[in-house]
């Protein structure tokens, strides 16, 4: 049964220190409200998995010292440029960085979804990504001849966390086209979502809606959080707040500036609510 939680704070309390935490990119709704709650609760040693890439969600956690390790295909603020806290953390070796590539993350999550210990993937051979991943295995295609192929171990996150437009009281979460959120939920031991709205009907009752819905079977807990993806967007509901993102990008150039950002937009904003 899905837990109906009162707030993002309660979700953050259920994400343990040290967890392997899977998060969507900036453009699939990200539960920024829970990210801020994780910063507020002083989460430690998180291992972040980008599905497949990161932006401000990883920035806030890295800059706040919540993160031990990052596996992702990229971290970027998009048109607002490089991710300054990530960049500095890598340069100063404050986090373990495991570079990868988008389809390798998707495939490794699909392996967990299917309950298989590994999945092969084309490409990758001859990259420095593969050269530096001693957890990947360069094997052979047993159905070919002299046909090398990379075997990726399954990735099973402890927790996946995301935001969505709506959920119902049975824990079903409507994600529409953001199907990677469904793979994340299937592949993870636990899945939590904040949502703009909790509806009073069952999302699985209507076949149109059901087709874009993660069943509550896979969802450990949901909490309502209006504009919970802000300053990122939710498709068809609200846009990414580019001005705020530019403000963040500017302030986060230094750790002091970042700390001032967190004080104003993460710590104090919550206290005022």
């Amino acid at each position: 049964m899905t837990n109906l939680l009162a707030s993002a704070e309660e979700i953050a309390a259920r994400i343990p220190d040290g967890a392997l935490l899977a998060l969507p990119p900036e453009y699939a709704p990200c539960s920024m409200e829970t990210i801020r709650a994780l910063v507020r609760r002083g989460a430690k040693d998180l291992r972040l998995l980008g599905v497949p890439q990161f932006g401000i969600q990883a920035e806030l956690l890295i800059g706040s010292g919540c993160v031990a390790e990052v596996e992702t295909a990229a971290v970027t603020l998009g048109e607002q440029g490089l991710a300054p806290r990530f960049t500095e953390a890598v340069k100063q070796q404050k986090i373990r960085m495991r570079d990868t590539t988008c389809p390798a993350i998707h495939a490794a999550l699909q392996a967990s979804e299917k309950g298989v210990p590994f999945i092969p993937l084309r490409g990758l051979i001859g990259t420095d990504i593969a050269a530096r991943r001693d957890d990947w295995h360069l094997g052979e295609n047993p159905f070919g001849e002299n046909d090398p192929i990379v075997y990726l171990p399954a990735i099973k996150p402890d927790v996946s966390l995301f935001h969505a437009a709506k959920a119902d009281r049975n824990g079903n979460v409507w994600i529409g086209l953001r199907r990677e959120l469904m793979v994340m939920a299937h592949a993870s031991s636990a899945a939590f979502a904040t949502v703009e709205e909790i509806v009073e009907y069952d999302l699985l009752d209507d076949p149109q809606t059901a087709a874009g819905t993660i069943p509550g079977l896979y969802v450990s807990g949901i909490a309502q959080a209006e504009r919970g993806a802000w300053p990122l967007g939710v498709p068809h509901l609200y846009e990414r707040d580019h001005d705020h993102m530019a403000l963040y990008a500017e302030m986060a150039q230094t750790q002091d500036g970042f700390d001032a950002y967190v004080d104003k937009w993460v710590t104090r904003k919550a206290a005022a609510e």
Binding site: A73, G78, F86, D99, C102, P103, I125, D147, L177, R179
Partner: protein, 245 residues
Amino acid sequence: MSGIRTEEVMIASIARMLDGLSHIAVGAASPIPGSAALLACQLSGGATRVSLLGRTSNPTFTDGARELFDCAAQGRIDAFFLSGVQIDGQANINLVSIGDPNKPKARFPGSFGSAYLYFVIPRVILFRQDHSPRALVPKVDFISAPGVSEPNVYRPGGPYALVTGRCVFDFDREAGRFVLRSLHPGHTLEEIKRETGFEFGLPDGDAVPETEPPSSEWLELIRGPVGDEIREVYPEFATRMFGKD
């Protein structure tokens, strides 16, 4: 119509390479190729399909973020675009770091899907507006995706051309090197040699041709419907190029 921008020359150069293709995909941080792909779609009367990562309207894909990669692996994507903080003469690209990757002098976002798509999409067009010895290097510090592979490596795809702010190179997969195809208006061979950190071939014949600039008809499309469409994903680029919405 005067005042053609470098970006518009690049957009036109890339669009020309996309003529007649069925399906073009555009990844992250690719406003110039994205505009070129949308221009190619306009020129084809809609016959060329464009899948623009990050666009919410007109979705091509309905199976989540993996579908771009699966679709490419199925052979259903004809062209794609990659850049690099470094690109070398063997068309290796680096999107990760400068110096020792364990303690880099500079760190960039990361490899995105390059380590895969460079292998499986037939026509990968490299682009980089900043054409300097800093960007076009003899050997990249980190191979996000290699330009060429051993013959036993499954690789239906690979580099096709490199479009910079100064010129267009073709990539010769047999020889594993770039060959200068054309100079953008106002640029010289000497300049290219000076500003390029890697060795490259020259075209047959006496002179290097000039890159054909976009016609006034093309410019109207770029500054009109293409600009409107690219704004959804790249608002800052669109504002810089075409003014406020």
